[in-house]
Amino acid sequence: MTTRSIKIGFTTVMIIVVFLFGMVLPLSAAGPQKNLILATTTSTQDTGLLDILIPAFEKKTGYFVKTIAVGSGQAMAMGQKGEADVLLVHSPEAEVKFMAEGSGVNRLLVMHNDFVVVGPAADPAAIKGSKTSPEAFQKIAAAGAPFLSRGDNSGTHAKEKGVWKAAGLNPEGQKWYQQTGLGMGQTLNVAAEKKGYTLADRGTWLALQKNLGLPILMAGDPILLNIYHVIQVNPAKWPKVNADGAKVFSDFMVSADVQKIIGTFGVEKFGSPLFFPDAGKKEDALGK
């Protein structure tokens, strides 16, 4: 094979490939200016709330929203790298750091739900009746009962670690403490399978509880509040972000209409709402 024929062959192949890719572009068509990358968490997506809100947003504003549902850690990392335009997350400590380092602007309170401690109906560690969640966790540790952690740096995982810290315990490495590295729904299923305890957001638990067999054993502790904020990624730091779209989305999430939708979401299906709308409130006023 001469070099010349290799060059010709290579060029021909590349032309064919580019042509084939070109055939593909219509599949991906949705003008770049109207694209909005929303980084959020799997648990948020799994509640189904976004399946209602996003289409409504797209219809109203004409934006095409790419909802990338990953763990909280990854969502914020995307924001830090300017690979997302707006974040909808629920990891307050990490969010504060995020704002402090200048990665985000305009952090707005959207809604909250809470976390609940669930476990087997038999409750081997006898945590029912505990006054606070750290107390419940201490009882679980004492009994050496199986505890399933998400272990994936998600908002839920961060919350759980906070409770252990408040209880003065470090469960890492203990045999009864198992980290699944999975999403909330899957972790709940694993806990049900292994008859263990876990910390879950109420929304996901409500969606699954019918077949789960893991009743709520402890809830209501203020620590367990799961607070959602919408944050726009700082366009000064990352000029390529769709700053306008992010602002529109942010405004949308705290608008009265949307807040009403949030407040009634889940009532039909589960009897009680999954979320509590909080736009405009002060953070410490929550949960009371």
């Binding site: 094979m1 024929s5 290799i6 062959g9 290579f10 192949v13 064919i16 490939v17 084939l20 890719f21 055939m23 593909v24 572009l25 599949l27 991906s28 949705a30 770049p32 694209n35 990358i37 799997t42 799994d46 399946d51 790419k66 909802t67 990338i68 549902a69 790298k81 300017g82 690979e83 999975l182 999403g183 729904g185 899957q186 709940l188 299923n189 969606a207 699954l208 077949n211 990352w238 390529k240 972000v241």
Partner: protein
């Protein structure tokens, strides 16, 4: 057990009622994996044939690279393609992250070494003098390449099946670069993972059944073509 039966029942229900969302996901899976396989065939068969027929310094190294590429973990491909396609990455200007195009790109990267490696082996396996005999029959270089590829068509069909099979079932890279966006970049595999994560096992099983049926049908057709030609 009942879960699986439930899943299978749900699968047929979704198929027969032509459930819009499932139909959309299935068609997208076919389009994306089909195109990716096609691209990998164009590049793979050309490159494989070229390397098989050439002698150049460092050829053995190139062949080792191809063989290593055959076993490349798809998830690794997904990670690297994502990094390249990031807004601030080298190919960010293309703005194709979180689109079906990105999935096709990642899947093509996964399938191409497979097709190249199998083609390379198939062409090298042809009788050494066949190339000369074809030239002696008065063939142009292009005719010669075409005739050689035709002679190797049985193993090349295996390459098609291997390439397609590898990408229709791929999930890691597809989630990373596609974003699993509803109605846009969601394919059978990524939807299955999501439904499993949500605990909707029946839907997850249904999607898996549909995926396997799809893969089976396509491979059945390709196998029929291949075995029709089998030496008796």
């Amino acid at each position: 057990m009942d879960l699986i039966v439930e899943g299978i029942k749900k699968a047929f229900f979704l198929i027969f009622t032509l459930d819009a969302e499932v139909l959309g996901i299935t068609l997208l899976s076919l389009k994306v994996s089909g195109l990716a396989t096609l691209i990998s065939l164009v590049i793979g068969i050309s490159a494989g044939t070229a390397v098989a027929l050439s002698r150049f310094p460092g050829r053995q190294f190139v062949v080792s690279l191809i063989n290593t590429g055959m076993g490349l973990p798809p998830v690794v491909v997904g990670l690297f393609v994502t990094i390249f396609l990031w807004r601030n990455g080298p190919l960010g200007f293309l703005e194709i992250l979180y689109t079906p195009t990105a999935i096709i790109l990642a899947q093509a990267v996964i399938a191409t070494p497979i097709v190249t490696g199998i083609t390379l082996a198939a062409i090298q396996h042809l009788p050494a003098n066949l190339r000369l005999q074809i030239l002696a029959l008065g063939a142009t270089r292009l005719q010669m390449l075409w005739l050689l590829v035709k002679e190797a068509r049985l193993p090349l069909l295996a390459a098609v099946m291997a390439g397609f099979g590898g990408v229709i079932s791929e999930v890691g890279a597809s989630i990373m670069v596609g974003g699993n966006i509803k109605g846009y970049s969601r394919v059978l595999t990524t939807a299955t993972v999501m439904e499993t994560g949500r605990g909707n096992f029946d839907i997850a099983i249904a999607l898996s059944v549909i995926l396997m049926l799809l893969a089976f049908c396509i491979n059945a057709i390709l196998t029929h073509i291949q075995q029709r030609e089998r030496p008796r």
